[in-house]
Amino acid sequence: MSAFTNHFLFEFKTGIRNSSAMLMLYMLPLGFYAAMGFIMVEINPAFKDLLIPAMIVFAIMSSMILGFPTGLVEAREGGIYRSYKINSIPPISILVIPAISVGFHGLITSAIVAVTAVPLFDAAEPVNWLALFLITLLVVFTFSTLGMLIGVVSSSSRAVVLWSQLIYLPSILLGGMMIPLVLIPETFQKFSGLLPSTYAMQAFLGYAFQQPTVIEPWIAIAVMVTSGILALALSILLFNWDSRNDSRRGSPLMGLLILVPYVLAILYTTFG
């Protein structure tokens, strides 16, 4: 088997062997999905329209933003990258293979949500299943590269929690996952333009569910693609083998460049 296959199989199995990973990849998102399906739909029947896209975004966000970067930082702090470096494992494999593996787990959780939400909770069914699948892949790409960047620029697990929560909590509250974006006050709508979950929800609603959106779906797609490519490039550029080492190719603050596509999108939707 090739190096990629061996490495990928190991990373994929880790998602099942490791209890913390299992929690973030399956138990938290599926538990939250069940809670939302049983409770939220009863309280607010209109939530049925959002259940599938919101829970897919939530599942991917939990695994990619909360779980994935912590693993990267812990591996660096534990000297694992040093072992990898002296054994010829390149940075791109160290970053991309775990991301693909976590992405696969994210796809499995998303599939469970998409297949069960209609029969279990009478959720709104996607009009275009292919669009649902393709946008899910794009959401995985956007969030995995963002999680990768958080892991690369964070100096410790504490820093990961800080950066992750800056995205995670506002995304749940303001990203159109719990409340449709159109119902959020305009000021907060502008702020939600900094959150990747906003664009993920708008793309799902526009293309897969063919519902009206606040942001044009093509803009949502463009922001996610640009964000993903930029985050990947910045992650590879800023990757550091060893937290105790003194050589780095750029300041971690360069990671803030990831905001560029989001700010441009806000400017475009405001003045364009």
Partner: protein, 305 residues
């Protein structure tokens, strides 16, 4: 003429204002076990990590078989095997997976027979965090040699190991040497260095203060040989006069201890004295100065060899 496999010239490395390694030079010959000795903080690990390409030297030259670790890191990785002092594997990676993954990245098939030789055959499916420290060290050595490198760098390989694991690793190192590999061993265990190495360099505060074979280094010291004698009547305890070449005398329980610059005449005179006074010898030990004693001598002199 001996072939140099590793060449380090005028190498310096600083961390801020702290000079970790200060203008050192040495060479390692093909097929030898070279020891880098020194107390903690002497600069051994920094030197090795720059040689392995994990850190960047501030100045100086480094080459392994003509390859500069900074300029050709990829080429270097397949030539060297490294057991780091502080490193790890993912907790959930099994022994078998680690061997498969690392082999694949080196572009060689996994050598599973190494697991038997390292006593890890039964642990193939065991995850890294479930291995004992000794087993983790042995796995690390197996991974370091799996791609058959010609130069093997071991940083404190036996630290924290029990006696049997340590003996096992020592025998592995000697086996690797007999197969033609060159080994660089950083340690602060002098007995280990004396037993295994062909030549050593002693580092102190970032500088090399002595080089040579363990025998050469100990010979350059104060040269005191310790002679310990125990006899039935312990008459030596009360004997006031000295014996030839003895510079210092002491008593340790039933033993009279003499430090001699020339042990032959000393031992002859002691035996003659016992025979003359009808005292029977119970035990006689002659111990040449160890590398550890020589090391302590050098370090207590502030690095003056």
């Amino acid at each position: 003429m001996e072939e140099s496999v590793v060449t380090i010239k005028k190498f310096t490395k600083t961390y801020g204002d702290f000079v970790a390694v200060d203008d050192i030079s040495f060479e390692v010959q093909n097929g030898e076990i070279f020891g880098l000795l020194g107390p903690n903080g002497a600069g051994k690990t920094t030197t090795l990590e720059c040689l392995e390409g994990l850190r960047q030297p501030d100045s100086g030259e480094m080459q392994i078989k003509g390859v500069d670790p900074q300029r050709e890191p990829r080429k270097l990785r397949d030539m060297i095997g490294v057991q780091l002092q502080t490193s790890g594997l993912p907790d959930n990676m099994t022994v078998e997976e680690s061997l498969k993954i690392f082999s694949a990245y080196h572009g060689v098939p996994p050598r599973f027979e190494l697991l038997s030789r390292m006593g890890l055959e039964e642990k193939r499916k065991t995850q890294y965090h479930q291995l004992s420290t000794g087993q983790q060290r042995r796995l690390s050595l197996a991974l370091a040699v799996n791609h058959d490198p010609r130069v093997i760098i071991l940083d404190e390989p036996t630290a924290g190991l029990d006696v049997s694991s340590r003996a096992e690793l020592h025998s592995m190192m000697q086996e690797l040497k007999s197969q033609g590999s060159t080994l660089i061993l950083a340690t602060h265990d002098m007995a280990e260095a004396e037993k295994l190495t062909d030549r050593v360099a002693i580092m102190l505060r970032g500088q090399i203060v002595a080089t040579g074979s363990p025998r050469e280094l100990t010979a350059k010291g104060s040269g005191m040989t310790k002679v310990s004698v125990s006899s039935e009547n312990s008459i030596l305890h009360d004997y006031e006069n000295s014996f030839p070449a003895v510079t210092q005398k002491g008593i340790n329980e039933e033993y009279s201890i003499y430090f001699s610059t020339d042990p032959g005449p000393t031992v002859s005179a002691i035996l003659e004295h016992l025979a003359t006074h009808n005292d029977n010898l119970i035990d006689l030990r002659v111990e040449r100065p160890s590398l550890e004693e020589r090391f302590l001598e050098i370090t207590s002199n502030g690095g003056t060899a």
